[in-house]
């Protein structure tokens, strides 16, 4: 007598605690080992690109907030930069500095959320709270300048919406100092922990070739030895004025991605500190035509801009036909590109590793589905 066996298909999600949103993974498992993985996405699709065609240029900015809601500033920036490229506008100096400071603060906040939630996935409860405690002070600064904690809607075509309130720059300097102290604590609590290392070292290995073939970007690419950071390789805004390193690791596993992100927080702190000391004391914060948001009418043409978001390379392609509304907006969302690698990366891993691998990609579902 033979026992009938069949492959078990495990549906992970769309409602599952560690998919960070509505994401579904169809896992074919034999025992606890995965033989085939199918990522299923689109549960959060809102048609952002199509919506943009019905909006005047500025109206789409709050929608970019809602792509990668943990890193809204860079999304704001890359869209505004795209429209500015069409218009050919020069951005005032002070506005550029404010943009860089807020973008980098936001990157710190985004990486802190990743740090907390990743450890929560792995089973450590406290780091989540510690990360959110530190993120809170960053969000307070962003709240003071933009009036919102996540959906900032701070940048405008031609500059930024508000100047920094009195004493804000000093507060930012104080904040990043506090964050860099916390990073030390993070290292003591987690980085050296043997259990954490055993969960991440050698897990979800990505080779350099895979990274390039799949078009992965951001900390994932840099953790596999691909030294690409648009802030360095293709400096946009005023990033060429700051002295910072691009953390790169060679191993390509989850632990390398972890180390790269922690190092990136430190680099962001460096940039914020430099920007805070270089920022001109006063000046214009928006291009003289930018304040009239109803009147922005780029000449017919097309533009592609890209920037380094906390998740990877975010790109915006804007086509104008000379009217007040864009003809087409295409968004290159880093999480969407990065999440596709799961179908290769998960094969051969155990169910327990799924969480460790998926978490290490740092995917935000608002961005995957747009």
């Amino acid at each position: 007598m033979s026992i009938k066996t069949e492959e078990m298909v495990l549906n992970m999600g769309p409602q599952h605690p560690s998919t960070h949103g509505v994401f579904r993974l169809k896992l074919h498992v034999s025992g606890e080992t995965i033989t085939k993985a199918e990522p299923v996405m689109g549960y959060l699709h809102r048609g952002s690109e199509k919506l943009a065609e019905g909006f005047i240029y500025t109206q789409f900015i709050p929608y970019t907030d809602r792509l990668d809601y943990l890193n809204a500033m860079t999304n704001n920036y890359v869209y505004c930069a795209g429209v500015e490229k069409l218009l050919g506008w020069e951005i005032p100096e002070r506005a550029e500095y404010l943009r860089v400071i807020t973008m980098e603060l936001n990157r710190i906040a985004s990486h802190l959320v990743w740090w907390g939630t990743y450890l929560l996935d792995i089973g450590a409860l406290s780091p989540f709270l510690y990360a959110f405690k530190d993120r809170e002070i960053v969000l307070d600064r962003l709240n003071e300048i933009s009036g919102a904690r996540m959906t900032f809607n701070y940048m405008r075509v031609g500059g930024v919406k508000w100047d920094a309130p009195a004493g804000w720059i000093e507060k930012v300097q104080e904040t990043v100092k506090q964050i860099s102290e916390s990073i030390e604590m993070f290292n003591t609590l987690v980085t050296g922990n043997e259990i954490f290392q055993s969960r991440t070292i050698g897990v979800g290995k990505l080779t350099k070739e895979q990274v390039i073939d799949w078009g992965l970007s951001g900390p994932i690419a840099r953790a596999s030895g691909v030294n690409i950071d648009l802030r360095k390789t293709e400096p946009y805004s005023i990033y060429d004025r700051f002295d910072f390193d691009v953390p790169v690791a060679e191993e390509g596993d989850a632990y390398a991605r972890y180390k790269v992100r922690i190092a990136e927080i430190r680099e962001s702190i460096k940039i914020v500190e430099q920007a805070c000391s270089q920022i001109p004391a006063e000046g214009e914060i928006i291009h003289k035509k930018g304040a009239r948001i109803m009147m922005i009418k780029p000449p017919a043409g097309e533009a592609y801009t890209r920037a380094e978001a906390s998740k990877g390379e975010i790109g915006v392609y804007v086509v104008s036909n000379g009217k007040t509304k864009p003809y087409r907006v295409k968004l290159r969302r880093p999480s969407f590109v990065n999440v596709a690698i799961l179908q290769d990366l998960l094969v051969g891993a155990s169910i327990q590793d799924v969480v460790a691998i998926f978490g290490s990609l740092d995917v935000v579902l608002g961005e995957v589905d747009a």
Partner: protein, 151 residues
């Protein structure tokens, strides 16, 4: 080998520290004046230019005006409604308003309710929303405590 033991020191250290959470209904976060909360409306200032309706990305503002009794060339506001089911608090209405008739306050609570109709705020409710914010007639923002709560 035993670097994980160091972590115990970290957690024990936090055990002794002061707690940072804000006990919500009793204590509240003091939002900065720029905070984009629920709107306040000044009917006297409104010139019924309809810009806010045009700029609203989610089309949640509806308004009607009528001819002013004193000066037939001018218009005055008659009804002004914001449907907070759809409002994304993007602040564009405030930004385009030429007379600062619609402003945002730092009010962030009471945006949720059990009844959809309650999200539909009319001119009277919006005019009576006397919360501080980033506008001229605003009361001063409350002082924030050590953890950012209202003192």
């Amino acid at each position: 080998m035993f670097r994980l033991l160091k972590g115990f020191g970290v957690t024990l250290n936090y055990f002794r520290q002061k707690k940072v959470t804000i006990q919500y209904p009793e204590e509240r976060v003091a939002m900065p004046p720029r905070y984009r909360g629920i709107h306040r409306f000044f009917p006297d200032k409104c010139i019924v230019c309809n810009l806010c309706v045009q700029v609203c990305p989610t089309d949640v503002i509806t308004l009607t005006g009528k001819k002013s009794e004193e000066n037939p060339k001018k218009k005055v506001i008659e009804t002004y409604n914001i449907d907070f089911q759809g409002c994304i608090l993007c602040d564009f209405c405030t930004e385009v308003c030429p007379t600062d008739a619609i402003v945002m306050t730092a009010r962030y609570n009471n945006l949720s309710s059990f009844n959809r109709a309650e999200h539909f705020k009319d001119i009277k409710w919006l005019s009576d929303n006397h919360i501080y914010g980033n506008y001229e007639e605003s009361a001063p923002a409350p002082e924030a405590g050590e953890r950012g709560e209202v003192k």
